[in-house]
């Protein structure tokens, strides 16, 4: 713990077929299945995102799989404690590649509001355990923020943004 560890995991295939890869990535980006893995408060907002008002299904990511073996993306929604850390790593390793991680909320990013001197039970950021692709800040982030995070992940996969960027309000 403490030191940022380096993950020596190859995320890409060894042999590349340019056009086929593009097509595969496009398909993957439009069907990112998250894992049903709520840790804390953010999990409730994650549920809200999946429900009718915000409708995660528009982006092809509504199928929450309870089993890690059927999931593409792990949304770490909540505080990761030291007791939970080994389990989280196990779950991550059980996911078949290619796999991605979204760190949702301040706890998963850095420990958030529960960080203080001499703390004894907190993992200060889930990126100490698993490689993270997208960080979604907030305590808890609004569902719109999580949707934006998902779009960012799609952008990472396909190289271009699927929807126009919303206009800034101020």
């Amino acid at each position: 713990m403490g030191k940022r560890s380096i993950h020596l995991e190859t995320k890409d295939a060894i042999i590349k077929f340019a056009l086929l890869d593009d097509i595969l990535n496009l398909a993957r980006a439009n069907s990112l299945w998250p894992m049903t893995f709520g840790l804390a408060c953010c999990a409730i907002e994650m549920m809200s995102t999946a429900m009718a008002k915000f409708d995660l299904a528009r982006f092809g990511a509504e199928i929450f799989r309870p089993s890690p073996r059927q999931a593409d993306v792990m949304i770490v929604s909540g505080t990761v404690t030291k007791k939970m850390a080994p389990l989280l790593v196990t779950l991550y390793e059980q996911m078949p590649a290619p796999k991605w991680v979204i760190a949702m909320g301040n706890c998963a990013i850095s420990g958030g509001p529960f960080l203080f001197e001499d703390q004894y039970n907190l993992v200060e950021g889930v990126d100490l355990l698993v490689p993270v692709d997208v960080y979604v800040p907030g305590c808890p982030p609004r569902p719109e923020a999580l949707l934006e995070g998902l779009l960012k992940l799609e952008e990472k996969l396909t190289g271009k943004r699927r929807f126009p960027t919303p206009e800034a309000k101020w």
Partner: protein, 524 residues
């Protein structure tokens, strides 16, 4: 009644120091300082008089440790604090789990965080913490865990047996509503034993209470129970107001009641959806979230957040409500009545649902007393006990409502009590909106730095899950010396290992879901 108890106590147990305390200032009526010799008799005395086990905690006063027990009664309000001084060099106390079964888990918790050993306790293993903790977390100063205690705390091990197999239920399981882990020992399709393992979300809230100011701790209360944060807000704020003698304006009290009840409805709705999803009906989940979003929109306008509200301030509120909020709330209530009718036809009259819930997980009042569970779980056995009635906080003292109770204490009753609870909440909101008058929404001259009097205070409130209590010990500085939370889910979960054996695994899940657990609250 309080004087009667006091007299009887003095005649029965002469050796202990017994004193009457001002309830308005402290939140409890009688304080008993027991010694090691008298403790058993004192607790037996309250057990004989049908008191229920409310809370148990420990405070480190540097020179000595103090184990504190709280008892209260369902029939009349009489909260009793029993204290026992323990030598920190040799912390041994006789266990009370023989008299009040619920104490067993509280004792395990105290043992982990303070190192007090309870002699005669059946199981002293880890409950919350992980292996690798070097110091007792809640002791002042760094006290190392001695090696013999480490062995006692040794990691939870599943005992192997012939023809029985264990199933790990959780921590990543949709039915555990978060990160609860239950190790279930199965014999074929039947549960033989269930052992919950907690602490996967232990976020050190009580430790944070000791190193943050009174004001700085406010946001933590809403992270503790993210489904019903308003009640936790109210409990904490009321406790500090009691401690610092701040009076709250009328308008603020009424708005507090409205927001707490709105939050209660949204919490019960989420429970309804999640519980039916546990039983295999996924459709209600979509419906309840539709209603929840309405409440979120109403509350977001005034509190600024969708989920973890931090709306209350010492002596009032963060923000005033406006006409739009009142109109929105009225519209929501009108709509909610129709929705409840719809839930009634869709769920309550559903044959499959009734068959899955009727006659399993039966509880009784005696069990409630011994285990100390509260809220809808308690009211389902027919005890009309509600903190909003017995110890009115916010504006509940002036509102006319009745407490829904069940008859048989089974899972279906718990469901019905919660559904009726929503109707009661709507009634309360309606009355409060009519009572709303102009005036200030925050008390004047609330100091930035709190100046509490030295002493302790206990404040209870009714959260959607049951009785939440805050116990704050103050030493006169602007940070609490010790803060303890009595959380309803923890007490409600204690009965699961007692209910589960002998049931089918599907029924066990139904029972677990009906307790309405909120894991961050259990783990704190």
């Amino acid at each position: 009644m309080v004087t009667d108890i006091l007299e009887k106590l003095k005649t029965t147990i002469g050796a202990a120091e017994i004193s009457e305390v001002s309830y308005e200032e402290r939140g409890y009526h009688i304080s008993v300082a027991a010694s090691k010799e008298t403790l058993h008799n004192v607790i037996k005395f309250f057990d004989d008089r049908k008191f229920y086990f409310e809370d148990m905690l420990c405070v480190d006063y540097k020179d000595y440790l103090e184990v504190v027990y709280f008892f209260n009664n369902y029939r009349f309000l009489c909260r009793v604090k029993v204290t026992l001084k323990v030598d920190p060099a040799n912390p041994h106390v006789a266990t009370m789990s023989g008299i009040f079964d619920g104490a067993a888990w509280y004792e395990r918790e105290i043992h982990e965080f303070f190192g007090v050993v309870f002699d005669g306790h059946p199981n002293m293993g880890y409950l919350f913490l992980h292996d690798g903790i070097e110091f007792y977390p809640l002791r002042k100063g760094k006290v190392r865990i001695p090696p013999e205690d480490r062995e006692r705390l040794a990691y939870f091990k599943v005992d192997e047996q012939e023809d029985a197999f264990t199933v790990n239920f959780g921590p990543q399981h949709p039915s555990t509503h978060g990160v609860l882990r239950v190790v279930v020992k199965m014999n074929g399709e039947y549960v033989e034993a269930a052992e919950p393992v907690l602490g996967y979300l232990h976020r050190m809230q009580e430790k944070m209470g000791e190193n943050r100011g009174f004001m700085q701790f406010l946001p933590n209360t809403s992270r503790m129970d993210y489904l019903g944060p308003m009640s936790f807000n109210a409990a904490y704020v009321s406790a500090v107001e009691k401690l610092c003698k701040i009076s709250v304006p009328e308008r603020a009290n009424i708005i507090r009641a409205i927001t707490i009840e709105l939050n209660r409805i949204s919490s019960h709705l989420l429970w309804l959806g999640a519980y039916l999803a546990d039983l295999g009906g996924l459709t209600p989940f979509l419906y309840v979230f539709d209603d929840r979003e309405q409440i979120n929109d109403i509350l977001e306008r005034i509190t600024g957040s969708r989920l973890t509200y931090c709306y209350m301030r010492f002596g009032g509120l963060y923000n005033d409500v406006d006409e739009k909020f009142i109109e929105g709330t009225r519209a929501f209530i009108a709509r909610m009545y129709d929705r409840l009718k719809m839930y009634d036809t869709l769920v309550t009259k559903n044959v499959i649902f009734i068959n899955r819930t009727k006659g399993i997980g039966i509880l009784d009042e005696e069990g409630a007393r011994k285990y100390g569970f509260s809220g809808p779980v308690l009211r389902s056995v027919g005890v009309p006990y509600d903190i909003r009635k017995t110890e009115p906080y916010a504006a509940y003292g002036r509102i006319n409502f009745d407490v829904p109770i069940g008859k048989s204490g089974d899972v279906l009753d718990r469901y019905m009590v919660r559904v009726h609870d929503m109707e009661v909440s709507m009634k309360i909101i309606k009355q409060s909106l009519d009572m709303l008058s102009d005036g200030p929404y925050v008390a004047e001259k609330v100091p930035k730095k709190m100046k509490p009097v030295a002493g302790d205070v206990y404040q209870a409130a009714e959260s959607p899950r049951g009785e939440v209590g805050v116990y704050i010990v103050s030493d006169g500085t602007d940070t609490p010396y010790r803060m303890h939370w009595r959380v309803p889910s923890f007490s409600n979960l204690i009965i699961f290992p007692y209910l589960a054996p002998g049931t089918l695994i599907a029924d066990a899940i139904s029972i677990l879901g009906s307790l309405d657990l909120c894991i961050p609250e259990i783990d704190r």
